[in-house]
Symmetry: C2
Subunit: 245 residues, 2 copies
DNA sequence: CGGTCACTTGATCGTCTTCAATACCAGTGG
DNA sequence: CCACTGGTATTGAAGACGATCAAGTGACCG
């Protein structure tokens, strides 16, 4: 393949103003711990990058040179076994911070699902920044704590829930995250494929497809078209997700 | 039941000297981020508690009033579904810090496996301490990052590995943690029951028992008595754990 | 149009679960 | 001393859930 066909990351050589000042993702990201006045210091370390769908911008096991902050789009985070079995550990959307690890190699891979934009910071330089801005360190701890809680919830799902409960849990979580501020939408996009959902829930494509069909026939959800999901009966879905019925 | 029979936590009314100064777990815990001179401030907030085997000292869903630091023994951390299905998310030994969560309720329960000692700190007071000692906050972030990596590894196990691979992974992890400083021991205690192992690996007691028997007959491990494990062929076990063969 | 890709649906298979019986040990009390 | 109990572990037989194998559809695209 030629370099063009592999769709490498496009580096936007941010010539003009402060990229952080106009960042859509700032309110929901860790960067909001840094005041307006000090943003330029952060911006000086920042490199804005665009990843095309399917592009892997973090590879498990490679030297961990950067931290990442997603500002647009969605990426899947995953780990692989030697024979190709894959476990998606999470989906990262705008505001998510990636690369938190003490190890000197990445513990997971990340691949863009949609056109995805992210900032990256050299690890060593960010360390100094954290020293100067303890508020950002506190914010990172907050983020990491929340992710830890989510990871434990996912362990419960993977270890103890049935396929039906897993799908319900997944859809309910999407539903809850569909609008950050209290308000939820019943109709929202489903950017991941059946294969991605399967690898996230520890199932196969076929089981995901079958189970979605069942939930649809029961009237709990609807899938009017590819990539679109409608929550028709949120209460019932939450009950299923919790293991009742 | 009477209060005596339920074996409640015994509060050691630490009358004498600084508990932190003589703490065995300090080198491996987050407290080592605080210098000798400031230890007294930490000690003033600390309450040393002893938990008998089987005692639940953190309950999922209850108001999160404290942080915890295990200093001796082992505890299992777990989440429950309404019908009683249980997922153990980890085992906490000396040096482990518990309770990192932004939520105002605990996200998991913790139960002592052996006689277990821990320190507890009121949440609100520790916040002030973290403000004054950024080094401790940095240390907590480090701990949380490591736990996050471990959690992702566990997701891979629960979502994609076979029973055989799960057991091998579990035993290899125990093996690696058997001695912190490089040196590993081939014989070490196995304080958890088959039920605990099953709930940690997303299996049943019977499958755990059967699989251990197979590994034993293959000569990869030996179980000379209850609670004792011998790693006979670490290399082969690691291969199985990694999904090869 | 042929090609690929994502998805759905059906039939069969296999791993792990479930149900059940047995053994073992420690503690307790007749 | 020994029966009785409760907890833990092992082992066997049957069953179920999800995986695997396979076929077919529709959308998109060169």
């Amino acid at each position: 393949m030629s370099a063009v066909l592999t769709r490498p990351t496009l580096l936007e050589s941010q010539p003009a103003a402060d990229p952080c000042a106009h960042c859509d993702a700032r309110p929901s990201s860790v960067c909001n711990a840094i005041g307006e006045r000090d943003l330029s210091r952060l911006a000086a370390l920042t490199q804005v990058v665009e990843a095309a769908p399917g592009h892997t911008f973090i590879s498990e096991g490679e030297p961990a040179s950067h931290f990442f902050n997603i500002t647009r789009g969605t990426a899947k985070l995953f780990k692989l076994l030697p024979d190709g079995r894959r476990q998606i550990t999470g989906f990262a959307t705008a505001g998510h911070f990636l690369g938190l690890a003490v190890s000197d190699t990445y513990a997971f891979s990340a691949e863009a699902l949609e056109p995805t934009r992210y900032c990256r910071f050299p690890r060593n330089k960010l360390r100094g920044l954290l020293r100067d801005f303890p508020a950002m360190e506190a914010r990172l701890l907050e983020v990491a704590s929340n992710e830890l809680v989510a990871a434990q919830e996912q362990m419960l799902l993977l270890g103890r829930k049935t396929a039906r409960e897993r799908l319900a849990s997944f859809l309910v979580t999407l539903y809850r995250h569909s609008a950050p501020c209290g308000r939820t939408r019943t109709r929202f996009p489903l950017p991941m494929t059946r294969g991605d959902i399967a690898d996230y829930l520890g199932l196969t494509i076929e089981t995901v497809s079958r189970t979605l069909t069942v939930l649809r026939k029961e009237g709990l959800i609807d899938i009017p078209g590819p990539g679109v999901l409608i929550i028709a009966n949120a209460a019932a879905l939450e009950r299923v997700a919790g293991g009742l019925n």
